[in-house]
Amino acid sequence: MRSRRSRGIVAGMQTEHTIGVELRGAAKSYRTAGSVVRAVRGIDVSIDRGETVALLGPNGAGKSTTVDMVLGLISPDAGTVSLLGAPPRKTVAAGLVGAMLQTGALIRDVTVRELVAMMAALHPHPLGVNEALDLAGLADIADRRTHKLSGGQAQRVRFAAAVVPDPAILILDEPTVGMDVEARRAFWQSVRAFAARGKTVIFATHYLEEADAYADRAILMSHGRVVADGPTSEIRARVGTRTIRATLPEVDATELAALPGVNAADRRGEAIVLICADSDAAIRALLDTHPDVHGIEIASAGLEDAFIELTADPGDDTSAAAEPQEVLA
């Protein structure tokens, strides 16, 4: 009974919708002891079918909350979320979504093959179990018990369980945490092979390199907002930069932002912070125009720093970094 209805939804979703995932004004807050944490503050995102998109941001940016909303695990306080034009729970019930969550242990007392086969049996149009095992590189350890696996192997089992439904939309929440470099590369090859089948793939990560290498597009989140959304090359240009910090009172930040090589400028009391595309040009210009500048530091921006700088918008507090920790993992 259920499967017949599901197939109807599947057919409709497969043909009618070119948009894979859409969030409109989606917001979610959590109440924790006495305070309200605004994990996601109203985001608009539209992802076409077949796109591979990285959801990029430091810890606490709101990535996991966004992933949970997309999967229908939590409901937004405001706004809407749709997958293939339907509410997440409906799309999930139709078996069109696969996901690797950030969670602890795999269920015990089963073999890898049994776990993947069970996942296949729960879905209306799965891949072959062997195909999924091959795709995840698990053929050698298919008969091993799930609690006797290394961290990297366990992640691959999660991946196999996520792709065996043959989902139209695959969501990976920080999938390579705990993998070494070699395992990470092998893992992304598997993801790429799956994405090549015309699938929509969304992965959350805080590794800029992963977004750069494996996504067509990156959505940058910070403090619960989308602060940049575009081709990965553009994002990389924005965050793969250097910052100049110096003490320079009484100069307007907008004036500094206009200096050559400077993308953005911000004032923090007596100090200034310049985000630079070309820090060499910027420092020369800065010394020329403001000889009294002192206490100069030039640093290549770590991703987290870059996010903080990028998001220090004037409407917010002067320093985004001064805000309390925003999310629960």
Binding site: R2, S3, S6, D68, L71, G72, L73, I74, V92, A93, A94, G95, V97, G98, A99, L101, Q102, T103, G104, A105, L106, I107, R108, D109, V110, E114, M118, M119, A121, L122, H123, P124, A161, P165
Partner: protein, 245 residues
């Protein structure tokens, strides 16, 4: 289709866990022989009119089966901690099918406990007519229903850490006040409490050997009421848990 697959998966997984099986079957079995074997020929246990081998056979079936049903549901707490229930929520598997798998598994272990203890009882001279065996088994299976709901309730309010002590303590206490270890008679403080507990009626199933009905109407009402209350609580705990994250 999919719910059947999940039940099969759960059964296979559970019956493969040797530690779980050893404790589930081993514990009541050892207790049975320790308690009943030395008094094998006592035919009127504390004036109850029931022989010691039969009394303890049903008493330990009650204890073992009740523990099996409660633990099966309560293990949901572990799966919540591991994130497994979250993973299942992004599949087409319905929550009701997940709970059904837990209850069926609990009953399967309970059934195996019943078989093992019946065989042990027969080896100590328990002998009943076929109709009596059937009636007794039926009553036991009915009286286990509220414990299935209790297990699912506990699975949503306990944590992985509190699971062991909570389930162990609760089943021991219920066994004690329900007459698993000695007949409660028909008056007195313990009896007054016990008759309002479904576990008492579980133990009472041994009364089939006395002829007549083992349960009074009150027994059926108590079991039905607890089933209803615990099912409502389990549903509430589940909804509260999934709403949170």
């Amino acid at each position: 289709m999919s719910s059947l697959a999940y039940t099969r998966f759960e059964l296979r997984r559970t019956f493969r866990s040797r530690r779980l099986l050893a404790f589930t079957f081993g514990f009541p079995l050892i207790l049975y022989f320790v308690l009943a074997a030395p008094n094998q020929n006592e035919h009127n246990f504390n004036g109850s009119g029931i022989s010691i081998p039969l009394y303890y056979m049903v008493g330990l079936v009650a204890f073992g089966a009740m523990t099996a049903l409660i633990s099966s549901g309560a293990r949901i707490a572990l799966e919540r901690t591991d994130g497994w229930t979250r993973q299942l929520r992004i599949t087409p598997l319905k929550p009701s099918a997940y709970f059904r798998a837990k209850v069926v598994t609990g009953y399967a272990i309970a059934g195996a406990t019943i078989v093992v203890l019946y065989a042990s009882g027969i080896s100590l001279g328990v002998s009943l007519g076929a109709g009596r065996w059937l009636e007794m088994t039926g009553l036991i299976l009915v009286a286990l229903v509220p414990f299935a709901a209790l297990g699912i309730f506990l699975g949503h309010v306990l944590t992985a850490d509190s699971l062991g002590p909570a389930v162990g303590g609760l089943t021991s206490l219920l066994a004690l006040v329900s007459g698993t270890w000695f007949p409660l008679g028909s008056h007195g403080f313990l009896y007054d409490i016990a008759q309002f507990l479904p576990s008492y009626w579980l133990v009472r199933a041994s009364h089939v050997s006395l002829g007549g009905h083992a349960w009074t109407a009150g027994g059926w009402i108590v079991v039905a009421a607890w089933t209803l209350v615990l099912a409502v609580l389990a549903r509430y705990a589940y909804l509260r848990d999934t709403a949170r994250v």
